[in-house]
């Protein structure tokens, strides 16, 4: 059913820390690996070893340069996958009922046996979270690793999305954003987590933590107007002991 549920019992999603992400693309690779070998059609590549390789990815890492009015530019790595929106426009446009949002946890999924591959859901998504698999002719998207998070065959620590499990920097967090007391909700509240393209009205569940302000040590203007802060004053004016003797001996030379 492509009408959206009025409310979902939980809002499972990701919190992505733009301050911590180092842009290593490990999440991209683990996502592609897990989702090629498990639920649904594999994520195909076209011309993978040729001159013009392309492929289906459910998670991609962009890098942006942000130039403040004053001071040095910042480089920010920006992982992007499905945001499992509360008002998911990709779901309502689907003509076949292949796209749906789950009532129990809010995950947006595609039933691949119903998908006709019209591509309209990808048109409706502002985030580029849906990609048509050119080998299978069906729409692929992040499943929030629905086949890991409830999978009792996996050790408990592995029951989270592959991207979260693999992130070496701890920049990705998984949890219930509908519960204000959950770790992820606390993190969002503490760090001012934000929505991407809020004006599109999609109400994304996934949140992004903005980069923390950069250290201003070498850029803050000092009292004399120079950019470099003054040297620290020596605390010990008179040297004592061996250093004192050395100082005096060298003076006499």
């Amino acid at each position: 059913m492509t009408t959206l549920p009025d409310k979902t019992d939980r809002k499972l999603g990701l919190v992505i820390d733009l301050d911590t992400c180092v842009g290593c693309h490990a999440c991209v690779i683990s996502c592609k690996g897990w989702n090629t070998e498990n639920y649904g059609a594999p994520l195909s590549d076209q011309d993978p070893y040729g001159a013009d390789p392309t492929g289906t990815f459910l998670n991609r890492v962009h890098s942006y340069e942000v130039q403040p009015d004053q001071g040095a530019a910042q480089l920010i790595h920006f992982p992007k996958s499905c945001l499992h929106c509360e008002d998911a426009p990709c779901v309502t446009v689907c003509p076949t009922g292949a796209s749906y949002k789950r009532t129990e946890d809010g995950i947006v999924l595609v039933n691949e046996t119903d998908c006709i591959g019209c591509g309209l859901c990808a048109w409706a998504c502002p985030y580029g979270a849906r990609e048509m698999d050119l080998a299978e002719g069906v729409m692929k998207k992040c499943t929030l690793c629905v086949d890991r998070i409830y999978n009792e065959n996996l050790p408990e620590e592995d029951r989270e999305p592959a991207c979260v499990r693999t992130c070496p920097a701890g920049a990705r967090h998984f949890g219930d954003l509908g519960d204000p007391d959950s770790d992820v909700s606390q993190l969002v509240a503490e760090r001012g987590g934000m929505d991407l393209m809020p004006e599109q009205g999609t109400k994304p569940v996934n949140k992004y933590l903005p980069p923390r302000p950069k250290d201003q040590m070498n850029t803050a203007p000092t009292q004399d107007g120079t950019a470099t802060p003054p040297m620290l004053k020596p605390i010990a004016q008179e040297a004592k002991g061996f250093i004192g003797w050395l100082d005096k001996a060298l003076e006499k030379l």
Partner: protein
């Protein structure tokens, strides 16, 4: 947006076919017997041919029947229903005209309304998309309905109606272009809101996710077709609207009418190419493109 030939052919031809069916349904082009058969054959060839072309871009055309299930939320599903209903009702109405010489007026009017609903649903598939600010306006269904009705009038030999509707469609076309040219800027979606990094400073795409291209860039960030925008807009206005009006003002024979229809079709195809090629999808912003 990528201007897929299948979708351009579909919207151009089926729009014209359903437009012709509207005029036939209204009974203004009073035809019966063989003449009616020819008119209906042309209308069905255009409408059904267009619908078939649209299935070429599907990944799984064999599952197309499933598209009838989600009419509660999906304009694409509503379009499927409206088109089948329109074609069925008009087939019954056409049978009456062709084989019995009977004009079942109520059925014709119902068919005409269903044809207009079909064109409206097609237009709303595009007009509903917030992600493409150029399309997200009531002007989109207005323009596509005007083009369909004007083209239909041309084909149905409704010269007075065509002479009124073609200029109306041309004006809507220009208004739609002018509004569209600033639509992305006016939408409030830009790289700062896309990344949420605007509070720090100016955002610039430094590195794309992969060195190669991908589905998103091919489907949504198509810039080649926009290069000749001004030329194509001129071609649209001259061929699609101007020349047909001039030709209709001449003493009309079958040859001139056919010529008017052909140039109109060429002009509308150019307009439809631009409809896609010039449309900027907001996902391009993540790649620093539009």
């Amino acid at each position: 947006m990528h201007p897929a030939p299948s979708v351009i052919i579909f919207t151009t031809l089926s729009g014209l076919g359903f437009g012709l069916l509207v005029w036939l349904g209204l009974g203004l082009t009073a035809v019966t017997g063989w003449v009616a058969f020819v008119f209906f054959a042309i209308a069905y060839a255009l409408a059904v041919g267009g619908l078939l072309a649209s299935t070429f871009h599907l990944g799984h055309p064999e599952r197309a029947l499933k598209a009838f299930t989600q009419w509660r939320s999906s304009w694409l599903s509503r379009e499927a229903w409206a088109s089948v209903a329109a074609l069925t009702v008009m087939a019954v109405y056409g049978t009456g005209l062709v084989f019995f010489g009977a004009e079942w007026t109520v059925l014709g009017w119902l068919g005409a309304v269903l044809c207009l609903l079909t064109v409206y649903s097609t237009a709303m598939i595009y007009g509903q998309l917030k992600t493409v600010p150029r399309w997200k306006t009531p002007l989109t269904p207005a323009l596509l309905l005007a083009i369909s009705l004007a083209g239909g009038a041309l084909l149905a030999g409704q010269i007075t109606a065509a002479l009124i509707l073609l200029p109306i469609a041309a004006v809507l076309q220009v208004v739609w272009w002018v509004r569209g040219d600033t639509a992305l800027r006016e939408s409030g979606t830009d790289m700062q809101s896309a990344t949420g990094l605007g509070h720090i400073g100016q955002v610039r795409a430094f590195e794309p996710p992969h060195t190669g291209t991908n589905y998103l860039l091919k489907e949504f960030v198509h810039v080649v077709g926009r290069k000749h925008s001004v030329k194509l807009r001129t071609i649209t206005l001259v061929l699609g609207y101007g020349l047909p009006v001039l030709l209709l003002l001449l003493p009309v024979g079958h040859m001139i009418a056919a010529l008017a229809i052909l140039v109109h079709l060429a002009g509308i195809a150019a307009s439809r190419w631009l409809f896609f090629a010039e449309a900027e999808h907001v996902v391009g912003l993540y790649y620093g493109k539009r």
